[in-house]
């Protein structure tokens, strides 16, 4: 295990994008097979961090490596669960269509999903207990079911590293319990999972390791070491207004705006 590259490594990752929270100098090294939570106050840049890792936002500086390779080369080994609100649930597709999208990364440009791909998708739906709903239009699902559709789609990606943006937001208690069981199963199969989480009361039980984030990494390590009153206060108390203001000001000046 000593010789293998970490599942995810970021170095000096900084984002200063207008209208988005600021991230500053994020260094992370996440070993394989861990279930890691990202916690921090609103506007701390939790979602921004996930998106920056996947190259969905322009970086100001820094780099990302996945299993020792630059992200662009290892895209297929990364599965993504975006925030549920990020899509239009009235869109004319059914549950199966959405889960099959998870296969497109492997299929590439033109290839159609094969019977094997469909079988994988059915299997993933079964893992989140949604197989009976495979032919249902996605607007006819509860919030918890919609979240599980996204999880099934990520499972269909058959990745080694999963990045999940608030998978527990707005779901009922039963769904939350089912999701956490699923995540632990994934971990048992050697997968690495990074989860944006906003509920401190459960964070301690759910995750092996925690990233305390507030525009920069306040602390990172095993949950037992990091989940302390003092460190949480450091994360949640006292917004770093100056850091965010100055960095944003710099970004605006670079864009030629009047300051």
């Amino acid at each position: 295990m000593e010789t293998t590259a970490p599942a995810l490594e970021t170095h000096d990752l900084s984002v200063a994008y207008q209208k988005k929270p600021v991230l500053y100098g994020v260094d992370l090294e996440i070993p394989e097979g861990k279930l890691v939570g990202i916690v921090g106050p609103n506007g701390a840049g939790k979602s921004t961090l996930i998106k920056a890792i996947m190259g969905l936002l322009p970086l100001r500086s820094g780099w990302v490596k996945v299993f020792g390779q630059p992200f662009a080369k290892a895209k297929r080994r990364v599965g993504y669960v975006p925030q549920r609100e990020s899509v239009d649930w009235d869109f004319p597709v059914n549950v199966m269509d959405v889960v099959l999208m998870g296969r497109y990364g492997h299929l590439g440009w033109i290839k159609r999903p094969s019977a094997a791909d469909r079988e994988i998708a059915r299997n993933c739906l079964d893992q989140v207990n949604l197989l009976p709903y495979a032919n249902r239009q996605i607007s006819n699902l509860s919030g918890g079911q919609q979240q599980r559709v996204f999880l099934a789609r990520a499972l269909a990606q058959e990745s080694d590293l999963y990045l999940m943006d608030e998978p527990f937001a707005g779901v009922d208690a039963a769904t939350e319990a089912a999701i956490i069981v699923l995540l632990k199963e994934l971990k048992a199969r050697g997968k690495t999972i990074l989860v944006v989480h906003h509920d401190l009361t459960t964070a301690k039980d759910y995750f092996d390791m925690l990233v305390l984030l507030n525009m920069r990494v306040v602390d990172y390590g095993d949950t037992a070491d990091v989940f302390t009153v003092e460190k949480l206060q450091k994360t949640y108390g006292g917004r770093l207004t100056l850091l965010s203001d100055v960095t944003r000001q710099e970004a605006r000046q670079k864009a030629g705006e009047e300051v």
Binding site: R76, P82, D88, F91, V93, M101, Y104, I110, P113
Partner: protein, 500 residues
């Protein structure tokens, strides 16, 4: 189960309504022709002759026009599907207005209506317009709608100026550039059709080839990007194809209305289905249908502008879809509400009959009309009307002299079901949700009609298969519902109740 508006019936409705509006549109087309006849500046042909000429496809010019219309309906319908689900209808509108200066420049390139030069000029200027919108929204705090409105009007203004200049040129009058304003399918030449054929084939081929990529782009672009699919490229491809479709359609539809051919067929299809590939197929069919109808009416009225008729025909389809679509249709919903109300009334009458019998401990066979009227606090006439409905639904019979009502076995079973639903729900509200006992009746009056058998099973389990409601009245069980008759009734009862 409640009666539903079957799809076949809604299709029949739709076609009837469609026919009515075809006649109405025909009146539009015919009136000016009749007027022109009096002036005598148009060759004398009757409407029927003209329609006959259309359907025999004798005129080569007509054949070209019709082919062009079908092609433009196809490509606009397909691309419009993406435009609508991506909530980019206004972008389509802006694009269609922004291409006008490009058309004029393409014409000025060598002073003829060269389709390729016009296509190139229009596409370039149209995409420039979209880029300007993008640029404004990115670098200022203006929102997209303002930027779209700005670009639309500015480009369109430049286009109008250029077109007017061209018309003032010595050769301008014969240029045919005025056809771009209101659309005239009859003005399509062979070159135009070839170009339309090529762009439409390219569009269909690329959509089929990249369908899944385009689906991800439309549904969840970030996810596609995270998977490494070329989302940016597909987005630009889609914009380019849309620009092509707009430009080649413009001569037949006109600059002002061409965006309607993107939006209307796709919006109609959106209401009819909830799968993307069916939406695209339907939008293409509706697009082709309304474009062909537009050509027909334009021909009927001796080359009236085609665009307005296409758009009207499309609008009629949309209205049909809005009223009758199986899921969202306004009339479909009204119909469903109506049949549900009828159902509720039937069930309430059955329940009242049951209560009358229950009050005399189920002695005696039927229930008299008078008893029922007393229980429901209604007149004898009102009760007679209700009984008539029960009889036609096969739930009760009336004796010959018209005084006594008897349950049919099915009627009795349904009465038991509804009383059971009512009392179970009352019990649930009092025991589990802790409502006060005098608050639960009104609630249960509504809920009893919508409880499904699955929910009833859950309730029974939760309440440990209760025998009595909170007011001490017995809750009918399966045995009561089966009544006197034999094994087969039990069998039927169990099947309907979903016991396995």
């Amino acid at each position: 189960m409640s009666t539903r508006l079957t799809p076949s019936r809604s299709v029949r409705w739709q076609s009837t309504a469609g026919l009515a509006v075809v006649v109405w549109l025909a009146l539009f087309a015919v009136t000016p022709a009749a007027w022109a006849d009096r002036i005598g500046d148009i060759q004398e042909t009757s409407v029927w002759e003209q329609a006959g000429r259309f359907f025999t496809f004798r005129d080569p010019g007509l054949r070209l026009a019709l082919a062009g219309c079908l092609l433009l309906g196809l490509s606009c319908g397909l691309l419009g599907g993406f435009v609508v689900v991506r909530k980019m209808a206004l972008v389509g509108d802006t694009l269609s207005h922004a291409v006008l200066p490009g058309i004029a420049l393409g014409f000025l390139w060598n002073m003829t209506k060269d389709p390729v030069a016009i296509l190139a000029g229009a596409t370039l200027v149209g995409l420039l317009g979209v880029m300007v919108v993008d640029w404004i929204t990115r670098t200022t705090t203006l929102q997209q709608d303002a930027a779209l409105g700005l670009v639309l009007s500015a480009f369109y203004g430049v286009g109008i100026c250029l077109v007017t200049r061209i018309q003032r040129l010595p050769t301008g009058n014969k240029s045919g550039i005025d056809k771009f304003m209101f659309g005239q399918a009859a003005a399509l030449g062979e070159d135009d059709i070839v170009l339309m054929l090529v762009t439409t084939l390219v569009t269909v081929a690329l959509i089929v080839l990249f369908y899944r990529g385009l689906l991800v782009l439309s549904f969840n672009r970030e996810f596609g990007e995270a998977m490494g699919l070329p989302m940016k490229l597909l987005h630009h491809l889609l914009m380019l194809l849309t620009a092509f479709a707009i430009v080649v359609a413009m001569q037949a539809v006109g600059v002002v209305l061409v965006s309607a051919m993107l939006v209307i067929p796709a919006a109609s299809a959106y209401l009819m289905t909830d799968r993307m590939h069916r939406l695209l197929l339907l939008a293409a069919l509706i697009g082709m249908g309304s474009a062909a109808l537009g050509a027909f009416f334009s021909f009927l009225g001796h080359n009236l502008p085609t665009g307005p008729f296409m758009v009207l025909a499309g609008t009629v389809v949309f209205i049909g879809s809005f009223l009758f679509s199986p899921r969202y249709g306004w009339l479909t919903r009204l119909w469903r509400q109506h049949s549900r109300r009828l159902r509720t009334e039937l069930e309430n009458t059955l329940k009242a009959m049951y209560r009358v019998q229950e009050d005399r401990d189920f002695h005696g066979e039927g229930v008299s009309v008078l008893e029922l009227a007393e229980r429901r606090k209604e007149t004898v006439e009102e009760i007679q009307a209700r009984v008539k409905n029960l009889r036609s639904a096969g739930l009760a019979t009336l004796t010959e002299e018209g005084r006594m009502i008897h349950f049919t076995p099915e009627g009795y079973r349904q009465a038991c079901l509804i009383v059971r639903n009512h009392r179970l729900w009352e019990l649930y509200l009092t025991n589990v949700a802790h409502f006060a006992a005098d608050h639960v009746h009104a609630e249960a009056e509504e809920v009893e009609h919508v409880l499904g058998e699955d929910t009833v099973r859950q309730l029974e389990r939760r309440l440990k298969f209760p025998r009595q409601d909170p007011h001490g009245k017995p809750i009918p069980s399966l045995r009561d519902m089966v009544g006197t008759s034999a094994e087969e009734e039990l069998q039927r009862g169990t099947e309907t109740l979903g016991y396995r």
